[in-house]
């Protein structure tokens, strides 16, 4: 290896380091960064909570509904939650900016709520979760919306009735 050549190459083609923080650092499209949660598409199966090796994801039942929390200070950014999520409700973004001051350490959390409401059919409280994709094959948009608003028991009834109708 000719080090003079290498020197000339590095002098003309360099520098090879990124000038961060003076310029934004290039980030790969597939970069596995911060977690993003979408309560609209979550069906509340809690699989992400089960597969998270770091215990960063917690679901809590409150008066508001089912609350989702992903603690970014515990998260190891493995992407297991995204991989196992049946509805793509959780995914990793390209954002890796996680530096924060000490007093913010408990607020590095991705939060989402699956709201609780009254089941229009039986009046009992139910979670407004997304409908499982395998159950609503061939449903019209109005049917999906109606099915979604029901509680688990009424959903089962709805499915049975729909099947007997067809």
């Amino acid at each position: 290896m000719n080090f003079l050549q290498l020197f000339a190459h590095n002098l003309t083609k360099g520098p090879f380091t990124d000038p961060f923080p003076f310029e934004p650092a290039p980030t790969a499209k597939r970069f596995r960064g911060k977690i993003e949660f979408d309560p609209e598409t979550c069906e509340g199966c809690r699989k992400c909570e089960k597969v998270c090796p770091a215990g960063a994801i917690r679901f809590t039942k409150t008066a508001n509904g089912l609350e989702f929390d992903c603690w970014h200070d515990s998260c190891v950014f493995c992407g297991n939650c995204e991989f196992h999520c049946p509805t793509n409700a959780i995914h990793q973004t390209q954002d890796w900016h996680l530096a924060h001051v000490q007093q913010d350490k408990f607020s590095m959390v991705e939060h989402g709520v699956i709201p609780s409401h009254e089941c229009p059919s039986c009046g009992k409280p139910a979670l407004y979760t997304a409908a499982p994709a395998n159950k609503i094959k061939g449903f019209s948009e109005a049917e999906v919306a109606e099915f979604r608003s029901l509680c688990p028991k009424c959903r089962g009834k709805y499915l049975r009735e729909r099947k007997s109708r067809s």
């Binding site: 290896m1 597939r30 950014f77 297991n80 196992h84």
Partner: protein, 366 residues
């Protein structure tokens, strides 16, 4: 006149925190003058209890936990765990996933070997070469980040296949990266073969004879540099390695230089394997949801990690958590061989010799 008594030998501690060691190892070295007489190895400074932890986590969680045992062979750990679980559950891995597993493994091998030879240049005191080797490795790091989303922990595997598919864009990126890195790795190999500074510090240093190598049961590049032709990829081919041009380079130099040369030749071979994999990548599924049923049972799986043979033992029961998960990492036998390599060596060569086995203390002590 007072009489001065001079002890014939001294004991000096090397580690657990030492400027020349990358990880917390602790050697108690008896020296006579500048020559090492005896070495005592002390282990346990980075014990984290991962084996116990693994029995408290489900298999799906362990796929991630095992990846974090070691950073440089992070791909081989979940790979071996998945293979063991797939043996128990008789899960068939799709062909495309098998190719993708090979690709992930070989990319990691290139990066790992370049890191080790780079550190060798650093320990020799050849900083310009060190910087250049790390710059070449950076291409492999960028490649991992672009395809898998992380520079070290790829997260490539899941039970029954791979997690990460390669689309045309990723394949094109990999081809560009390989085009860039291949001539550089060949050039590095030539430099390490001919450069006087490297040769003076590494030839004839840290000798592990063929007989001692067999007695210690060393694996990986350390074994192959002592004229033992053993590589799991050819001895017990897994995935699709039986269809790929795997070469097992062997040298009989038994010294630090031979180990570095083996690593560089393997890096070149890994790039060749990657080209073949990209050309022959079949279409099809890459996994079956990643959550297959694993019945109670036990199995052993072996893979060739960058440092050598990695053995996984998995015992499952009716619980989602494994009853026992145990691994034998390549650094474990290789580490023991250090006592032979360091015998009669000079104190100044300790760091170079220790680096030549590419020790991974965090996975040895888990």
């Amino acid at each position: 006149m007072t009489e001065h008594t001079v002890a014939s030998s001294y004991k000096i501690p090397v580690g657990p925190l030492h400027v020349a060691l990358e990880e917390p190892m602790y050697f108690r070295v008896s020296v006579k003058g500048e020559t090492i007489e005896n070495v005592e190895l002390n282990a346990g400074h980075v014990h984290r209890g991962v084996e116990y932890l693994a029995t408290k986590r489900t298999l799906l969680q362990n796929m991630i936990l095992t990846e974090r045992i070691c950073s440089l062979c992070s791909n081989s750990h979940p790979e071996a765990l998945a293979m063991a679980a797939e043996t128990i559950g008789a899960v068939e891995v799709p062909e495309r996933a098998q190719y993708l597993r090979v690709i992930a493994g070989e990319v990691k091998r290139v990066a790992s070997h370049l890191f080790n030879v780079g550190i060798l240049a650093h320990l020799v005191g050849f900083e310009a070469l060190f910087m250049h080797a790390m710059q070449v490795r950076e291409v492999a790091q960028d490649l991992k980040e672009a395809v898998y989303g992380n520079r070290m922990d790829l997260g490539a595997h899941c039970l029954g296949g791979t997690r990460c598919d390669m689309d045309d864009e990723a394949i094109a990126f990999m081809r560009t990266a390989l085009d860039k890195i291949e001539p550089d790795v060949r050039e590095l190999e030539k430099t390490y073969r001919t450069n006087g500074s490297i040769l003076r510090r590494t030839r004839g240093i840290g000798i592990l004879t063929h007989e001692d190598a067999i007695a210690c049961g060393v694996v990986g590049p350390v074994a192959r540099a002592s004229d033992i032709q053993y590589d799991v990829r050819t001895a017990a081919p897994y995935h699709v390695y039986d269809r790929l041009p795997v070469e097992v380079p062997v040298l009989d130099g038994c010294d630090v230089w031979s180990r570095a040369m083996i690593r560089l030749q393997e890096a070149v071979n890994s790039i060749e394997i990657l080209w073949v994999c990209l050309d022959h990548l079949p279409d099809g599924p890459i996994n079956d949801g990643g959550d297959p049923y694993i019945p109670p049972g036990q199995a052993i799986a072996r893979t060739e990690a960058p440092r050598g043979e990695l053995v996984y033992y998995l015992k499952t029961n009716d619980e989602p958590e494994p009853e026992r998960l145990k691994w034998r990492v390549p650094s474990y036998p290789n580490w023991d061989a250090l006592t032979f390599m360091l015998k009669e060596a000079k104190v100044a060569d300790i760091a170079i010799i220790v680096n030549s086995i590419d020790p991974c203390i965090s996975c040895t002590e888990r």
